[in-house]
């Protein structure tokens, strides 16, 4: 949203782009997969190199006229003809491609969300030099004949809540780099972004548990090995089961149990009043991760929601999702079963 402090120019640029998107590209709402690139949604314009060539051709044409060089005309027109043919080739490189939204793993705020798309080439020839762009990031790829490729695109997750993939372009400057053919679309794909975990959170509020019915196991310390689970990006390398890895096992994370089975209630309202909303969410996120890692059963209380005590990955994601969507100003985009957990 443009604020008053933003320079007028960028506001105008944004407004004009929104208008172009709306009227030219007809981007109103996310469209369902698969998105097939038909004739009417492929656009072509010359690149800077193409404009440079056009200027050069003009100079060559003027020279041909001035010096009455018949072969000069011939060469100029031949290169121009090749340029025109390259428009069709660029168009054909995109024409008929089909693109479907894949998945997006939840990401923490401050990381990048990785959107995955399946791009299908149903034809019997190669489609080289394609580029998928999203939020300024881009991925280059080739498609072999009759092939499907998963294209992954990273986009910085700067706000918690729903991060829609948003306006994407698929483009190519093949064959000669003179013409850029592209297509714009709003895929129906959104990523949920969890709040950023607080960097150095206070210890878990174990004593504050309701009823104090934690069942501390006898003779077990904080750092006791409890078991293995698949590695996740957020895990500390210190907990990776390197020995298991060396034996040929997949990447696993060691879980430690100190307070197994103890119930923790992570309550929004018991946090110090000095904390702002986002800071509270950050702390709760950090605590959720710590509680899960430590093997506690934990419950979450928010002004808007309450999640009963539980444990395990699905529970963790349910809690994190509740935090992510806490008073989220954006209503979630069309709910899709691909990215929800």
């Amino acid at each position: 949203m443009p604020s008053a402090t933003q320079p007028l120019a960028s506001t105008l640029r944004r407004a004009s782009r929104a208008m172009v998107d709306r009227w030219l590209f007809r981007l109103d709402r996310p469209e369902p997969s698969p998105i097939v690139l038909h004739q009417r949604r492929i656009y072509v314009l010359p690149t800077n190199a193409g404009l440079g060539l056009a200027v050069s051709l003009l100079a060559m044409l003027i020279a041909s006229i001035n010096y009455s060089l018949s072969l000069g005309f011939g060469l100029t027109f031949l290169i121009a003809g090749i340029g025109i043919a390259s428009i069709i080739h660029a168009f054909r490189n995109l024409f008929g491609l089909s693109l479907s939204a894949g998945r997006c793993e939840p990401a923490f705020c401050g990381e990048s969300a990785r959107f995955v798309f399946h791009v299908t080439n149903s034809r019997r020839w190669r489609r080289p030099a394609l580029r998928l762009r999203l939020h300024g990031g881009e991925t280059a790829f080739d498609l072999a004949a009759a092939d499907v490729t998963n294209v992954e695109l990273a986009s910085p997750a700067t706000h918690r809540g729903w991060l829609p993939a948003g306006r994407m372009t698929l483009e190519t400057t093949w064959p000669l780099g003179l013409i850029r053919a592209w297509s714009v679309f709003l895929p129906d794909l959104a990523c949920i972004v969890y709040p950023q975990p607080e960097r150095a959170p206070p210890p878990l509020p174990l004593g504050a548990a309701e009823g104090g019915n934690g069942r501390r196991l006898a003779n077990t310390g904080d750092e006791d090995f409890h078991g293995l689970r698949p590695y996740r990006d957020s895990d500390s390398p210190r907990h990776v089961a390197w020995k298991a890895l060396a034996r040929g096992a997949p990447l696993l994370t060691k879980q430690y149990a100190g307070h197994r089975g103890e119930d923790v209630v992570l309550d929004w309202h018991t946090l110090p009043a000095t904390l702002g909303d986002e800071q509270r969410l950050s702390r709760l996120t950090a605590w959720l991760l710590a509680a899960e890692r430590a093997g506690h059963r934990y419950a979450l209380k928010l002004p808007s929601a309450r999640i009963d005590a539980g444990q395990g990955e699905p529970h963790l994601h349910r809690c994190l999702r509740a935090l992510a969507l806490h008073r989220a100003s954006d209503t979630p985009p069309a709910e899709s079963n691909r990215d929800a957990r």
């Binding site: 060559m60 072969l71 005309f73 011939g74 003809g81 881009e138």
Partner: protein, 675 residues
């Protein structure tokens, strides 16, 4: 969706690096080197030797770096090299402006650019330089071979750009795509070449060295100052007679007329010009079409004697304009001829000219400088003594020259101050200039008005296309004598010593032991035949391709049925044809699509039909799931639906699908009717 065949996952991050390669890949580099080499090769005959050497070394250096996979040389070194090249070019030409230093600089810049390449933008710049240099060759030569070289250079440049855009493709695929692009560009080229509104250049003044006009004729003549006449087989002009050509002995193509003589050098007088001839054409008329190579002079080199009959004169090309006639029986162009041009002319060889000649002209035709050639003047006085008329004197001079055993040679000795004396009495060896000069001096000495005419004589009929080809080696000088009542009478003194020169051409007239360039020798029949064929082809190329100009474009459009067309109509016509061509390409782009995968197409037809009936396939639904759902929804046709979906799944994902199975499924789907 055939997710089973997922090949690889592309990752973000690598994208930026692949857009700006640190240096060229071997493949890209080789294509670029090939493009530059083919572009520069035709320049080798026009650029100074050191530039060719420098270019070759720079290209070799680049190739070596590429081979060794080394990085380009340091920027400072390149900058110094560039400066050195600039200084050297300045030394060579004395300036930077004009075509020749420009081309030299472009050639060096291209080679230096190849060394400098670090990014894809540099490659594109080098390709643009290649295009400019291909164009620059055309200033010197526009022969079919050069056109072929430019075509291959363009193809290589296109393949270079392809290798740049898609470094992962195979060599052969890139060559094929390049050829395809070229083939698809050709119709556009043809259309634009024929229909682009042509304007007669130049748009502004041309630099002095713009055209490669070389003249076989000069506007002065100094017999005895050249000891070895170089004989050039270059074509001066071509003539197409509408009937049979005149006899070889009547084929005199008039250029400059020399009246003033200072003892050593003959000079052309500034003639009086008019829009009609100074004589009345009479006798047999020959209509012909002459295609002149540019010679940077105003002489039309018309066959004696040109006239302005109905439609007698029509020119096109850069020299077009009303043709002027002079009191020296010449036809002149309004401007010096800078480009190959075609004229339609008529000639009346039997015309008498100068019947009523002015006194001033006759006086000028009698002038001899004092103190030169005393022996010749003495001889002239003796020959004139007691003669009743100028005609008698003429006869005496002719018989004197015939009897004095002069030899025709292209390698005469150099002559001193009294050139005519030395030629007539001492060396007795010379070519047409010596003969014409000595003859004219003798006649003037005897009091008969005479002058020297230069031009071309003879020519050779090409048996392939019937055109008369006149070469620089056919350049000739003869004399004209003014006789009361008969006007100017042509006398060819060379014929007195070497009549074959006039009847059969230069090669026949030369004595044994004097060699001509290989292509002009008479004895090598097969070589002559080959040359005739090549020249006929070159002539067709010159006339049809190189000679396509505004005039020719009008004729072409008229032959298509478009009478008078202006710019708007031409632009409309061009756009129309262009749209048709683009439409054809679009059809090609989508036709290939429909050609693919009949199995997928039938399946789409099936899914679409059921979607219309209210049972669309969900994107995630495989054929089996879809079939089961359909079977539940449409129980009456459950069997058929399950059969179709199962056989699609088998053909799509199973092994051993053949055409017959696919056709069978296709038939099944086509025959399937929703009830």
């Amino acid at each position: 969706m055939r997710a089973e065949r997922m090949r690889h996952d592309a990752h973000a991050g690598g994208a930026i690096a692949s857009l700006t390669p640190p240096s060229l890949t071997l493949q890209q580099g080789l294509w670029l080197l090939a493009a530059a080499g083919v572009t520069l090769a035709p320049h080798a005959s026009y650029l100074p030797w050191w530039i060719i050497t420098a270019c070759a070394s720079l290209l070799g250096w680049r190739a070596w770096l590429l081979w060794q996979r080394r990085l380009p040389p340091h920027r400072v070194l390149l900058l110094l090299l560039t400066l050195a090249c600039g200084v050297a070019v300045r030394q060579e030409y004395g300036h930077f402006f004009g075509k020749d230093p420009g081309v030299a600089l472009l050639a060096l810049l291209l080679c230096l650019k190849l060394l400098e390449i670090r990014r894809s933008r540099d490659v594109r710049a080098a390709v643009l330089l290649c295009f400019f240099l291909q164009m620059a060759v055309f200033f010197e030569d526009q022969s079919p071979l050069i056109a072929l070289a430019a075509l291959s250079g363009t193809w290589l440049a296109v393949v270079t750009l392809l290798a740049l855009a898609d470094a992962n493709a195979a060599h052969r695929a890139q060559m094929r795509t390049g050829a395809l692009l070229l083939a698809q560009g050709l119709p556009f080229m043809l259309m634009l070449f024929l229909l682009f509104p042509r304007v007669q250049g130049p748009l502004w003044g041309l630099p002095a060295d713009a055209t490669g006009a070389r003249s076989g004729l000069s506007d002065t003549m100094s017999p005895g100052s050249i000891s070895d006449l170089s004989v050039s087989p270059d074509i001066a002009f071509r003539v197409e007679f509408s009937g049979s050509p005149p006899e070889p002995s009547a084929r005199y193509w008039r250029g400059p007329v020399f009246t003033r003589f200072d003892g050593r050098t003959w000079r052309a007088e500034r003639p009086i010009e008019a829009s009609t001839p100074f004589y009345t054409p009479s006798g047999r008329r020959f209509d012909y079409r002459i295609t002149l190579e540019p010679h940077d002079q105003r002489w039309l080199l018309a066959l004696d004697f040109p006239g302005a009959g109905a439609g007698a004169v029509r020119g096109d090309g850069a020299g077009a304009g009303p043709i002027r006639f002079t009191n020296l029986a010449q036809a002149l162009l309004p401007r010096p001829l800078q480009s190959r041009s075609r004229f339609e002319l008529s000639a009346w060889p039997g015309t008498a000219t100068g019947l009523q000649e002015t006194a001033a002209t006759l006086t000028a035709a009698l002038a001899l400088p004092d103190g030169f050639n005393p022996r010749s003047r003495e001889l002239a006085r003796q020959l004139a003594a007691g003669a009743g008329s100028d005609a008698v004197i003429l006869d005496r001079v002719v018989s004197y020259l015939s009897e004095s055993r002069l030899t025709y040679t292209l390698k005469p000795p150099l002559l001193g101050r009294d050139a005519v004396d030395e030629f007539l009495f001492e060396t007795r060896r010379g070519f047409c200039e010596h003969f014409a000069s000595a003859f004219t001096v003798l006649l003037r000495g005897a009091g008969v008005p005479a002058r020297v005419v230069a031009g071309y004589q003879g020519g050779e009929v090409n048996p392939i296309d019937g055109n008369l080809v006149v070469r620089q080696s056919d350049a000739h000088a003869w004399a004209e004598v003014w006789l009361g009542g008969r006007g100017w009478v042509r006398v060819d003194p060379t014929a007195l010593a070497a009549p074959q020169r006039i009847e059969a051409g230069l090669a026949a007239a030369l004595p044994e032991g004097e060699d001509l360039p290989l292509m002009m020798r008479q004895d090598l029949g097969w070589l002559r035949n080959l040359r005739h064929r090549w020249e006929a082809l070159a002539n067709a190329w010159d006339q049809r391709v190189l000679g396509y100009n505004p005039e020719r474009q009008r004729e072409f459009l008229a032959s298509l049925g478009f009478g008078k067309v202006g710019w708007p109509q031409l632009v409309a016509l061009m756009s129309g044809v262009g749209l048709i061509l683009i439409g054809g390409l679009m059809a090609w782009a989508s036709w290939q699509r429909r050609l693919q995968d009949p199995l997928e197409r039938s399946w789409q037809v099936f899914c679409k039909r059921l979607a219309r009936a209210g049972h669309p396939r969900a994107p995630w639904e495989g054929p089996h799931d879809y079939g089961r759902r359909l079977a539940l929804a449409l129980p009456r046709q459950a069997d058929e639906l399950l059969r179709i979906t199962a056989s699609y799944a088998r053909l799509r994902y199973g092994s051993g699908a053949n055409r017959a199975d696919i056709r069978a499924l296709n038939r099944q789907i086509r025959n399937f009717e929703l009830q």
